[in-house]
């Protein structure tokens, strides 16, 4: 059925937004190379814009686009072969092209999205490169958008992506989902990348707010995608953790954009649907396997989410969960969080003793939240002079404007 021009344009536009990353993921496998897949994607949509207004949209548009993209690139490769340097990747692309089944058969596997994620999050790539590459290639964000979200110049970010792609190609990082026995070694890098994307959107409030919210949503979408195809307990744990944290977004800052601490948040603003989903996933993650660090962190967030107030929170359970987390993943930051929970369970003096012991070790000397936590506990104990000193130290180290405003308010409130 033929469509008139504007209607076809709108339909193709919608299809691009919905399916272009899927088409891209399939083309990476079929063509064996990121650059060629990108080229194929553009050629395919260009062909669709030319042909569909007259011929109508095909029954299986994704298959049509993959086929068109593949054909255009291979055609170009055959021509190029006569003129320029030839390489392994091109050879591989032609080899695959000549033998693989046509689209519509085994080619249209949703697995390709997962392959793409595992390739972009390969542990041999630097962490910042993984994050940039995942947002660019898996989520389809523009380089400029990613650069803006991470507050780095666009050329720097573009360079990061180019270098990572060059490494994938030269070192031949395979385009595959690891075998079951290699999964424990590979999945953490994927989950960590997703969580970094989420945190960039959640923790930092500098920069473009809308963009940051999108990052958190992208991270949640990625985790859902991974979970659909790979229902491991830690994937459920990470998804639960992000949903539970995201559920508090509306309550986390006030009308002026200032941070509101957990203690002062209006819990009526918490997103109940996300909390319900997060809690269900947390239980699932804890029930289906040995609890990993994400599932435990999700459990901590779930205890907060289900409490009516700070006072009504089950602090003994939170301390217990931090003990488990410390056992799984020893870290001074987790120790600090545990100390704050102990202060809620046993009183500020008990918490302060732990924070002081931690401070004496020096590892967190440059971590502003150590000093902020110490300041809060001193304030609660009426040790005003010490509290003021610690707030000043925290202010010297804090980078984000809303965090600095909160610290300054607290310091001023001491009188």
């Amino acid at each position: 059925m033929a469509m008139d021009g504007p209607a076809a344009g709108a339909a193709i536009d919608a299809l691009y937004r919905r399916e272009s990353r899927r088409v891209f993921a399939i083309l990476v496998r079929v063509l064996g190379d990121f650059e060629r897949a990108e080229e194929g994607l553009h050629e395919a949509f260009r062909a669709a814009l030319e042909q569909w207004p007259a011929s109508g949209m095909p029954a299986n548009p994704v298959a049509w686009l993959v086929s068109a993209g593949r054909f255009k690139v291979i055609d170009a490769l055959r021509r190029e072969r006569r003129f320029t340097a030839w390489d392994d990747a091109a050879e591989a692309a032609l080899a695959v092209a000549d033998t693989s089944p046509g689209p519509g058969e085994a080619v249209l596997l949703e697995d390709d999205r997962l392959r793409l994620i595992f390739t972009c999050c390969h542990p041999s790539l630097a962490e910042e490169a993984r994050v940039a590459l995942t947002l660019r290639e898996v989520c389809g964000l523009a380089t400029e958008e990613i650069a803006r979200a991470f507050l780095v110049p666009a050329p720097t970010l573009a360079q990061r992506i180019v270098r990572a792609k060059a490494k994938i190609r030269a070192a031949r990082i395979p385009y595959e989902v690891p075998e079951r026995d290699a999964l424990p070694a590979r999945l953490p890098a994927v989950l960590r990348t997703i969580y970094l994307v989420f945190n960039e959107g959640y923790s930092a409030t500098a920069g473009d707010d809308l963009m940051r919210r999108d990052l958190s949503e992208e991270a949640i979408r990625l985790a859902r995608l991974v979970r659909d195809l790979l229902p491991e307990p830690e994937v459920a744990g990470l998804l639960a953790l992000m949903l539970l944290q995201e559920s508090r977004r509306a309550a986390r800052s006030d009308a002026r954009g200032d941070l509101v601490t957990l203690e002062d948040q209006d819990r009526a603003l918490w997103d109940r649907a996300r909390i319900a989903e997060g809690c269900t996933l947390t239980r699932l993650a804890l029930a289906t396997g040995p609890a990993g660090p994400y599932a435990i962190q999700a459990a901590i967030a779930a205890v907060h989410a289900e409490a009516a107030s700070v006072a009504a929170t089950d602090w003994p359970q939170i301390v217990g969960l931090y003990d488990v987390l410390l056992h799984l993943e020893p870290s001074p930051v987790v120790e600090l969080n545990r100390a704050v929970a102990v202060a809620m369970r046993d009183g500020a003096a008990a918490g302060l003793a732990l924070v002081d012991a931690l401070a004496a070790r020096g590892e967190l000397e440059r971590y502003h939240l150590l000093h902020a936590a110490r300041a809060d506990l001193c304030r609660r104990l009426g040790r005003t002079a010490e509290a003021a000193l610690a707030y000043r130290r925290a202010l010297e180290l804090a980078q984000q404007a809303p965090e600095r405003r909160l610290l300054r308010d607290r310091l001023e409130a001491l009188g």
């Binding site: 030839w86 395979p174 290699a182």
Partner: protein
């Protein structure tokens, strides 16, 4: 695809891995058909660095750069992809005492070596 696995060791770990372990591993790897070559090296104090500048050959004692870990040997392997190369590298006995740098081998970009 070829990968060069460079074995780096610090001075104190230089002799930590017994020769018979290395021999055993190299023999097994060779039998699997994935090893192209492998050699251990004498320490860097036996090294000579050679340069040619303006047609003049100059020699200096020691390696080009002083680093904490020094090149102690290499394995040139044939692997399907980086994952397989890393898998091999992780089994190289001195990986436990030092580190292994895995580098993909490239083909010279000259007409004689191009595919078609």
């Amino acid at each position: 695809m070829k990968y060069l696995c460079l074995v780096y060791l610090s001075k104190d770990a230089w002799n930590a891995c017994p020769d018979d372990h290395c021999h055993e591993f190299a023999s097994a790897l060779a039998a699997s058909g994935r090893m192209i070559a492998a050699e251990p090296l004498h320490p860097v104090d036996t090294a000579t660095t050679v340069r040619v500048r303006n047609g003049q050959v100059t020699m200096t004692d020691g390696p080009f750069a002083e680093t904490k870990e020094m090149l102690a040997g290499f394995y040139l392997v044939d692997a399907r992809d980086l994952n397989e190369a890393v898998q091999i590298a992780a089994q190289i006995p001195p990986a436990k005492n030092g580190s292994i740098e895995v580098r993909p081998v490239r083909t010279l970009d000259v007409p004689a070596l191009r595919g078609a």
